[in-house]
Every structure is written in structure tokens, then in C-alpha cells.
């Protein structure tokens, strides 16, 4: 036994003499950190790295089977789901790992922002971190494209259409993105290259830089209200803090990282096991147009924002706002590199986080049920509630038929069923008079197309008469105040 041990030590020494890595690694592991930083709030960065590792491993395993060809990618995903042993589970791990990674990266970023950790001398760590966020989102988008289904196909269409809005070089960008004139084999190959070679390469190198700077500059100390960062004195104060009140990273702080990493991995495994893989949805066949394309969760908020922009503002918004937002994130530590770190003395910072979180949350929520989209089959599937037909004249009932047949329900709901694009019609006659309804139906306006060409006069009369019976819980009918004035 001692002989074996002796031999092992010899082998280790032989290698270490040539490699020389053990000493710096041990030094890095045991480097002192402020005792206050050995906190549960400081575990998100390492969790992101662990998730990245999971993504790399599951990604490589999926690449064993996946075929990056427009004609076969979808089939190879079905094959993974149904024919390869545990293929579905690997796909689920990779998909859920991606969602968790985006969430953890955002939480990490929020924590760093609220703790003022981006301030001197860690400005560049933050800037590289912003790049890491963008790369993570780039991985999520390109990964969604590799799941080459209907959503991926039309998602590429959205990407190309956004590129097409760039002035002067729009056509060039569209073709560079698609790798040709249409979304096809070359497009998938491009995104495969991005997802598997280009972005991961830059991502891993940037993570290296990020961690290197964290080690070199020391982990941010727990902020104290009133303890200001000054470039002239900060580094000395930090050294003093670590000398007086420091603990070695391993083992005093690292166990929290390790436990959290295990918890996160378990959460990914549980989600993958219970909820399964994402898609693929329908085949990427552009001639099958019975589809309502939607991006993955992380991009739903963008999809929602695009529904609300006025057409004249849309192109400038799409081209300017991302540049401004990313520019703001990159320049933040350079503009606010000194001063207060504690969140309780930075109300604007806290409000900004709250505002951004609420905004993202609201738009994501809207993106999950897309109230701005017509429900394409509502006219043929959602009946007019029976109570809206009881005791109605034949003309009014004919109007209910017109309402269904002319697809009004795709945008307007009755009894809670139907589209949300336009207002619900249950109490329309309490808000609009006969003249107003007729005008609105025939001429449209306010986001409603005009139906003058789609309705003949008798259909219009029937429809308007039916709509006039819709007064909610027997509300007073709308009246034209000016008409009453002229009668007196």
C-alpha cells in the first residue's frame, strides 16, 4: 500500500515538475476573500459556469445524432425524441439547461448591479459580463433555430425581416443572415456553425477572462451604506479588509457555490424529467401556413413589443434601441465607476431594476397569450352563446350568422370566446349607437379593417341589428346626445 502511494506521488511529481499548474491552481483556490462575501448571494456566477458546462456536455452528446441539414434536421430530432435511448432526456436537459442559464445569468447580473460590484476596479469584468449575456442570448436564439421546426423557420423570417429594415445594406444583411436568397439549407448550416463553433468559442474565452479578472481583482466585498468607492483608495482598503477579515475561498466559501450548483443541476434534471424536451413543433415546411409562430420564452417580450410599436416608429426603434441599451450597459461602469455601492443608497438603481423586471415580465406575459393576434379558427369553432340568440327576431339571428361567417370572432370575443384583437362585443350596444356601429363596420378605423367590400347591404343591416341587442347585463343603450339636443 505504501509502495503504491509512494509510486503515485512520484508520478504526480513527475507531471507537476513539467506542468507546473498545481501551485497556481492551489493558490487561486485558497486566495483570501472578504468573509462577508462568503454569502449565498455570491453563488450565481459559479452556477452559470456549471450550467455552461452542462450545455457543452449535452450539446456534444446531441451532436452525435443531430443532422444539421434542412432536409433532415427535423427528422433527426424526432429520431432523438423517439428512437435514441434517452435521446429525449438529453434534448430536455439541453433545452431546460438553456432556460436556466439565461435566468441565472440575469439574476447574477442583477445581483452584481445592486451590489455595485461593477464599480472600480471591476469595470472590465462587468463589460465582459455584458458580452457574456449577449453571447448567452445568441446561443439561445441560434439553438432555437437548430430545433428546425415551424417556429424556427418563421423565427428566421422575423430575423430576416428585421435585417431588411436596415437602411442601405438591408438586402446584404438579409442574404448574409440567410446564406442565400431564402431560408433553406445554407441558413441552417450558418446557424449550426454559429451555435457549435463561433459563439461557444467566444463564450468560453470570455468566461476565462471574466473569471481571471474576478481572481485577479478579488471578489466584491459586501457593500456597506456610506462606504464609498474611490479610485485613489479603494484597492488599499480592499487589501486591508481581506488581510484583517479574510477567509480562504476554498473551503470557507466554495461549499455554498457547490451546494447551489448541485441544487440548480437537480432543478434542471427535474424539469427535464417531468416536462420533457421542447418540440420540435411542426415540420419546417413554408407551404404549411396553418401556424402561429412564436419564439422561445426568453424572446417572448421582444415578440410582444413588436406588436405594440406604431408602424412609423418601428424601424427606428428596432435599429436604435438595442444599440442604446447595450451601449448603456457597456458604459455604465465607466460613467458610474465610483461612489456608493449599497442598494439602500442607490434608489435610481433599485427603481431601474424594478422597472426593467416589471417591463420584461409584463411583455413576456403578453407574449404567452398574444392578445394582438387574431384567433384564426374562432369563427368556425366558437359558437355564439345561446342566451344571445334567445328571443331575437329572425333578422337579428341572421345577423349572428353574418357575425360568425364574416370571421368577426377572429378578433372579437363573445361570452369570453374569440380573439382579443378588438374589443369584446358583449356590451357593444351600450357603448355605440346604431350609426356608429354601422360606420365602424363599413369603414373600419382604429385598427379595424373596413368591411364595406365584404358585406352587402342586407348583411350589414342584419349584423348591425344583432350587435344592437348586445347590451351586457341589460345596460342602457348608447344614445347620440346631439340627436336628443336637436329634438328639443
Amino acid at each position: 500500500m505504501t509502495k503504491l502511494k509512494q509510486r503515485s506521488i512520484e508520478v504526480y511529481d513527475w507531471i507537476e515538475r513539467r506542468l507546473g499548474l498545481a501551485k497556481p491552481v492551489v493558490e487561486a483556490a485558497e486566495h483570501p476573500i472578504p468573509a462577508s462575501s462568503a454569502s449565498w448571494w455570491y453563488v450565481f456566477g459559479s452556477a452559470a459556469v456549471v450550467l455552461l458546462g452542462l450545455q457543452v456536455i449535452t450539446g456534444i452528446l446531441l451532436a452525435l445524432v443531430y443532422v444539421p441539414s434542412a432536409s433532415d434536421a427535423w427528422n433527426s430530432l424526432q429520431f432523438l425524441n423517439h428512437n435514441v435511448t434517452l435521446g429525449w432526456f438529453l434534448r430536455a436537459l439541453h433545452g431546460w439547461g438553456s432556460n436556466f442559464m439565461i435566468a441565472i445569468v440575469l439574476i447574477h447580473m442583477t445581483q452584481v448591479f445592486l451590489f455595485g460590484a461593477y464599480k472600480f476596479p471591476r469595470e472590465l469584468t462587468w463589460i465582459v459580463g455584458v458580452l457574456l449575456l449577449l453571447l448567452t442570448l445568441g446561443m439561445a436564439f441560434s439553438g432555437q433555430v437548430l430545433r428546425f421546426d415551424q417556429d424556427a423557420y418563421w423565427g428566421l423570417g422575423i430575423g430576416a425581416s428585421i435585417m431588411g429594415r436596415v437602411p442601405f445594406i438591408g438586402a446584404l444583411l438579409v442574404h448574409a443572415l440567410l446564406g442565400g436568397p431564402i431560408i433553406a439549407g445554407a441558413t441552417l448550416s450558418r446557424f449550426f456553425t454559429l451555435h457549435v463553433f463561433v459563439i461557444p468559442g467566444i463564450l468560453l474565452a470570455s468566461v476565462g477572462l471574466h473569471v481571471w479578472m474576478v481572481l485577479r481583482l478579488g471578489i466584491n466585498e459586501w457593500p456597506m451604506p456610506g462606504r464609498l468607492v474611490r479610485k485613489a483608495t479603494y484597492e488599499r482598503e480592499y487589501q486591508e479588509l481581506v488581510r484583517k477579515d479574510g477567509v480562504p475561498f476554498v473551503p470557507d466559501a466554495v461549499w455554498k457555490d457547490v451546494i447551489f450548483a448541485a441544487a440548480i443541476l437537480l432543478a434542471v434534471i427535474a424539469c427535464a424529467f417531468f416536462f420533457g424536451p421542447f418540440g420540435p413543433t411542426g415540420q419546417p415546411d413554408p407551404t404549411v401556413i396553418q401556424t402561429a409562430p412564436k419564439p422561445d420564452f426568453a424572446f417572448l417580450w421582444i415578440y410582444a413589443v413588436l406588436a405594440f410599436l406604431p408602424p412609423s416608429l418601428e424601424t427606428p426603434f428596432l435599429l436604435v434601441v438595442p444599440v442604446v441599451l447595450i451601449g448603456f450597459l457597456l458604459l455604465l461602469p465607466l460613467a458610474a465607476g465610483e461612489g456608493e455601492k449599497h442598494w439602500s443608497r442607490r434608489p435610481v438603481a433599485v427603481l431601474m431594476v424594478a422597472l426593467i423586471a416589471v417591463t420584461l415580465g409584463v411583455f413576456t406575459r403578453l407574449g404567452t397569450y398574444t392578445p394582438w393576434s387574431p384567433i384564426m379558427d374562432a369563427w368556425a369553432s366558437d359558437p355564439v352563446p345561446a342566451e344571445y340568440l334567445r328571443g331575437r327576431t329572425p333578422l337579428e339571428r341572421q345577423g349572428a350568422l353574418v357575425l360568425q361567417d364574416k370571421q368577426c370572432r377572429d378578433c372579437h370575443s363573445l361570452g369570453g370566446l374569440g380573439g382579443l384583437r378588438g374589443p369584446a362585443l358583449d356590451s357593444i350596444a351600450a357603448r355605440m349607437t346604431e350609426d356608429q356601429i354601422t360606420r365602424q363596420v363599413l369603414q373600419g378605423g382604429g385598427n379595424m379593417p373596413s368591411y364595406g367590400n365584404a358585406l352587402n347591404p342586407s348583411e350589414t343591416t342584419a349584423l348591425v341589428h344583432f350587435l344592437l341587442t348586445l347590451r351586457g347585463q341589460n345596460l342602457t343603450p348608447a344614445v347620440d346626445a346631439s340627436q336628443r339636443l336637436t329634438q328639443h
Binding site: S69, P293, Q407
Partner: protein, 184 residues
């Protein structure tokens, strides 16, 4: 000895310069390869595609038609197919619309009863003639250039239409060119 003027310093600078030159020589073909599809002349993508004989399209109706993109590779699979909406107004008068919404490229659907094209993504709506009815699109539907040749309806197609790569940039919306007079 002044190191910045020594022979070694000169040779070092020379080696850097040489490698810079080699780098430029190498960069030209790499960029050419990478940007090839982007630099390619756009007109080279388009060609005339037959959608079917005129008699297949009933007058006054709008129908979904599939065609194979003029340029495809063997591994494009289904993605090499493209759909478009053909509207036969009357006689030889046609309009052929791209499937892609002018807003963000999603596939629009025709509703014959309400005479509208509706987009499932953000609710863009267009009238039967392709003009904008409501919603976020900045313009009407993209229209393909078309002609009738030996009784067949042909369109000039080959690119995914976006605001920068319109199916036919010159033709204003709705305006119909008089159909060329050819024997049907």
C-alpha cells in the same frame, strides 16, 4: 547599443510587416467566401416560375399555390418550397402576393368570407388587393411580378421578400400592369 535601431529590431519589424501582408492576402478569399451570398447580384436569384395554367384559377378567387424555389440545393428539403397567394381578378388580370407579411415575414392567411389576409404573428390585416387594412405592417403585401406565357401564369421569384428585398421593388402596390397579350 540602441536596440530599436539594431538589425534584429529591423528584422522583427520586417517579419511583422510580412505577416501583415500575408494576412491581407488570406483575408480576401476568406471574406469573399463568407460574404459571397450577400454580395451576389440580387437579380441573379430571380427567374420566371410557372404556377399553373390560367384556367386553374377561378375568376374572383384567391388561392394558395406552392412552387419550388428556382435555386435550391439537394439538402434544402421542404424549405425549398415556397407558397404564394394567387388572385385572379378577372380574365387575364392577376395579382400574386408573397406569403410573407410585410411586418415581420410571418405567413398570412386568406379569409375569403371577410376578404382579408390576416397575419398570425402580430395581427397585420390586408384587403383582397393586398393593400394594408390594419395592424403594424408598414405597407401592403409584397407582390410578385407576373406574366402569362402560353396559357401559364408565371411569376418572377427567387428571394424571400423583406422590406429590403421586395419581390418587385419598382411596381407600386395594387397597381396592375396590363397583362401581356399572348394567346391563352
Amino acid at each position: 547599443m540602441n536596440s530599436s535601431n539594431s538589425r534584429r529590431a529591423f528584422l522583427f519589424k520586417l517579419s511583422v510587416l510580412l505577416n501583415g501582408a500575408v494576412g491581407v492576402v488570406l483575408a480576401v478569399p476568406i471574406l469573399g467566401y463568407l460574404l459571397g451570398p450577400a454580395w451576389k447580384k440580387r437579380s441573379s436569384y430571380d427567374s420566371w416560375v410557372a404556377l399553373g395554367s390560367v384556367s386553374e384559377f377561378p375568376e374572383g378567387e384567391t388561392r394558395l399555390v406552392d412552387y419550388r424555389n428556382p435555386v435550391t440545393t439537394a439538402w434544402d428539403g421542404q424549405t425549398g418550397n415556397v407558397a404564394c397567394w394567387v388572385r385572379r381578378i378577372s380574365g387575364q388580370q392577376f395579382q400574386v402576393f408573397a406569403i410573407n407579411c410585410a411586418h415581420l415575414g410571418c405567413p398570412v392567411r386568406w379569409f375569403a368570407q371577410s376578404k382579408l389576409f390576416l397575419c398570425p404573428c402580430h395581427g397585420g390585416a390586408y384587403y383582397a388587393d393586398g393593400s394594408l387594412a390594419s395592424g403594424p405592417p408598414p405597407r401592403g403585401l409584397f407582390e410578385y411580378k407576373h406574366k402569362i406565357s402560353r396559357g401559364k401564369l408565371m411569376i418572377s421569384a427567387g428571394e424571400m421578400p423583406t422590406l429590403a428585398t421586395e419581390a418587385c421593388a419598382k411596381n407600386p402596390l395594387i397597381q396592375l400592369e396590363p397583362a401581356p397579350k399572348r394567346p391563352a
